[in-house]
Symmetry: C2
Amino acid sequence: MAEPSGAGYSIPLDDPGLDIAAGEEFLQEVFQILLEEGVRKSTDVTQKVCDWKEPQELRELLDLELRNDGEGREQLLQRCRDVLRFSVRTGHPRFFNQLFSGLDHHALAGRFLTETLNTSPYTYEMAPVLVLMEEQVLAKLRELVGWSSGDGIFAPGGSISNMLAMNVARFRRFPESRSRGNWDLPRLGLFASQESHYSILKGAALLGIGTDNVHLVRTDKRGKMIPEELEKEIQRVKAEVRTGCTPMSPKPLKLPNASPGSEPLFVCATSGTTVLGAFDPLDAIADICAHHGLWLHVDGLLQRCHGVGASYLFQRDKFYDVSLDTGDKSPQCGRRADGLKLWILWKAVGSQGLGQRVERAFSATRYLLEQVKRREGFQLVMEPEFINLCFWFIPPSLRGQESSPEFWDKLGKVAPAIKEKMIRRGSMMVGYQPHGSHVNFFRQIITNPAVTRHDLDFFLDEIQELGWDL
Amino acid sequence: MAEPSGAGYSIPLDDPGLDIAAGEEFLQEVFQILLEEGVRKSTDVTQKVCDWKEPQELRELLDLELRNDGEGREQLLQRCRDVLRFSVRTGHPRFFNQLFSGLDHHALAGRFLTETLNTSPYTYEMAPVLVLMEEQVLAKLRELVGWSSGDGIFAPGGSISNMLAMNVARFRRFPESRSRGNWDLPRLGLFASQESHYSILKGAALLGIGTDNVHLVRTDKRGKMIPEELEKEIQRVKAEVRTGCTPMSPKPLKLPNASPGSEPLFVCATSGTTVLGAFDPLDAIADICAHHGLWLHVDGLLQRCHGVGASYLFQRDKFYDVSLDTGDKSPQCGRRADGLKLWILWKAVGSQGLGQRVERAFSATRYLLEQVKRREGFQLVMEPEFINLCFWFIPPSLRGQESSPEFWDKLGKVAPAIKEKMIRRGSMMVGYQPHGSHVNFFRQIITNPAVTRHDLDFFLDEIQELGWDL
C-alpha cells in the first residue's frame, strides 16, 4: 500500500474516532437553539424577517474563516445562533419574497428525518422505506393529474426537471442521440412561451441544442401562450428545413452553405408562469402537439434514457426485485430522498388539508386584491388569474402625473427604493421586477398558510408608509 | 380573478392556517425519536445495521398510502419510528456499503440548520450568511488543491458536477455552442479511463455529445489510466478528423458521406476510482492535455456559461454588491445550501481534525489489509493504493481448486450469497461487484471514523462465518 508522504497512519483504532456521547449532547443543544431561534422566531410575527448587514460587516461579525484547530462547544453553539440570527426568516408570515415561503412543522420534521437517515434512494437495498414511499408519492401525484400509470423520479428542483424532460423528448424521438450525440440529428426546435421559466434556455444550452433553437412564442397580455402563434412558429420553423432529413432517417445530408433549418421537437407549456402566474391553454396546445407529433412537456422519465447500468451499483444478481433500484433512472447517482418530506406532510394533513391550503392561498389573494383596488395609490398591473398579484404603489408625489413623460421612469424606481427600506427595517420581504413594457412592480404570492388578514393589511400599510415620501 | 370550478375560497383569514404551538410540540417529539432511534441506535454497534423486509411485506407493515384525511399525532410519531426502524442505518460502524458511511453529529447539526433555514443561496438578499459561508468554504477547498484564486459552486452531487465540467469545457472552447447548439461544432471527443465514473457517459448523453464520443482509455492492472494510451487515443481520434474544422473556425465544411471524425475536447482524470480506488497519473495527463490544448477536468464553473440573466430573480438595480448573487452560475435555480454542513464540521474539528480522519481511514485500511493477508481463505484482488480494499472470500469447499475450470464461476456466486445472508441477519452491509475479468469480490472502504479495530475483526469473522458452508 503506497504511503503519501507526510501521512503517518499511526492512528490507534481501539476506540471510536468520534466522541459519540458529546456529539449527542451537542445535537440536543443545537436542536433547542433551532427550535427557539430558527422555528419559533421564524414563525413569530413580532420578530424581524431579516436583520440586514452589508456583506463586509457580516463577514466581520461571523468570523467565517476555517482554521487548523477546531472550536469548543460553546463557540460552536454561538455560531449556530449567529447563523440563524443573520439569515432571512423564510418561514415568517411576512416573508413573501419567494414562492417557498412558510414553515410547516411536519414537513420540517420530514426533512430532519431524511437528513438523519442520510441515504440515497437509488437502490431498495439502501433505502427500502424511502424507495417504496417515493413510489407511493409519485403514484399519488400522477393520480392528481389524472394518470393511472406512468413512471417518475424526484429531481433536485424544477430547472433540472425541465432539462430532463427535454432530454426524454429527444431520446424518445431519436434514441440514437444518446450514443451519437446531436450531430446526426436535424437541428432541433424547442418551443415555449415568452413567459416560460429561464431554465428552458439553460437546458437548451446544456443539452447542446442551443438557446437560438428555443423559439419563444408570443403571449397574450395576460402572459398566456397564444396557440395560433405556436402553430405559426412551428410552421415557420418547419418551412426553413431544407436539409431533407426526417425523424425516421435522422442523418442529414448537409450541403455546404445550406440553411440548417430545424425540426420541431418539444413544446413546453407553462402552468403558472413565474411573474404573472399565467396558465397556457393546455388543450389547444396539446392538439397542436398531437397534430405535429411534438412532445408536450410533462415530468415523466424513462429509465432507458438516463440509464447506463453501472455494475458496481446496480448488480443484477441481487436476491430481490431489482426493479425497485431506481437510481439508474436519474442523471444523478446519489440523490436526496425528497419524497419523505411530502409524504409525512400528506399523511399529517391529508389530501383534504392540502386542498384547503390551496383554497386559503386563493382566499388570501382575493382579499388582497380587494384591498389593492380599494386603496388610493395602489394600481394593479392586471387582474390576477392565479395567486400572483402584481401591482405598483404610486407615491403621492407621482399621483395625477400618469400622462407626464417621466412618470414611468420615476415609478420604476419606487419599488427598489421601498424594497431597500423594508429590508433595512427588516419588517417584511417581497419581490419586484420589471416585465415586458411594465416598469418595476411588486409581485405578491401568498403560499404560507400561516399568513392572516392582519399580515396582509400590514403588508399594504408598510408599502404605503415606506413609499409615502418618495 | 377566475375561479376554478369547485373551489370556494371561503377560507377565513383571521387566524393562521397552522397550529404553530402543536407543530412545535410535534417537532420536539420527533426530535427525541430521531435522537434515540435515528442517531443513538444508528451509532450503537450492538444494534442491527438493517431490519430486512421483502418489499411486499414492508408495504403492508408501513401503510404508505396517502388518504383524504390527515392522521393524529400519535400515529404520525409512530410512522416516524417505523421509517427509522426499517431503514438502513448508514451511520452504523458496521455499515460499509457505500462511501458515505458514518454519522457525524456536527455535520448532522449543520444539515438540520440548513433545513430549518429553508432558503436557497442564489442571492445575497435571500441567504446572506450562506452565500458568504459558501464563498469561504470554496476558497478553502481551492487552497487545499493549491489554487489561490478561482470560482466555484456546490452542485447536487458528483454526477452533476462532472456534467457541469464538460459543459464548461465546451463553452470555453466554443462559446457559440451555448446559443447554437452542437450542430455547428465539430464532433467532440471526450476521454476518460475505463475505470472512470459512469456519470461521464451519462453526461455525454445529456449534453448531446453522445456516449460513442467518450473514448475510454486503457488502464493498467491497478486501474490507472495509461498516459501513453491516452496519447495514442487522442492521435487516433485526431487522425479521423477529415472535416477541415479547427477550434478557431468551428463551422465544419461537411461533405456528404465524409467521415465525421471528432475533435478532442476534454479529458477526465480520476483521482480515486469507484471500485479499485486508483489514481490516474495527473502530471503525465496534464502534460498531454497542455500539449493538445485539451481541458483537464476540474470542478470550476463559469458564470457566463450557465447564466442567462433572469430579471425577476437577479435584478441589477439592487442596493448591494450583486456579484454575491450566485444563482446564475448554476444550471439550477433554487438549490440547497450545501456549504453549511461542511463549514460547521470544519469549524468543529479544524483542518487538523479533518486530516486525522483521513489518516485514520488509511490506518484502518492497513490494519484490515494485514488481517486479510493473514487469514486463510481471504484473497486480495490486488494490493490497495488508496482506502479501497478489494478481496474474495474462498469457502473451504472451493479451497485448493483454483485450477479447476469451474472455480471462478463458483467463486463469483460466493459474495452475493454472503451478502444476502448478512442483510437477512442485519449484522453488517458491504458492497460487492464483478470488475473486468474478476468475478464478484467485496470492496471495503472505511470512511467512518467511529469504526474500531473490533469492528474490522468482526467484519472478517462475519464474512467467514456466513461463507463457511457455501
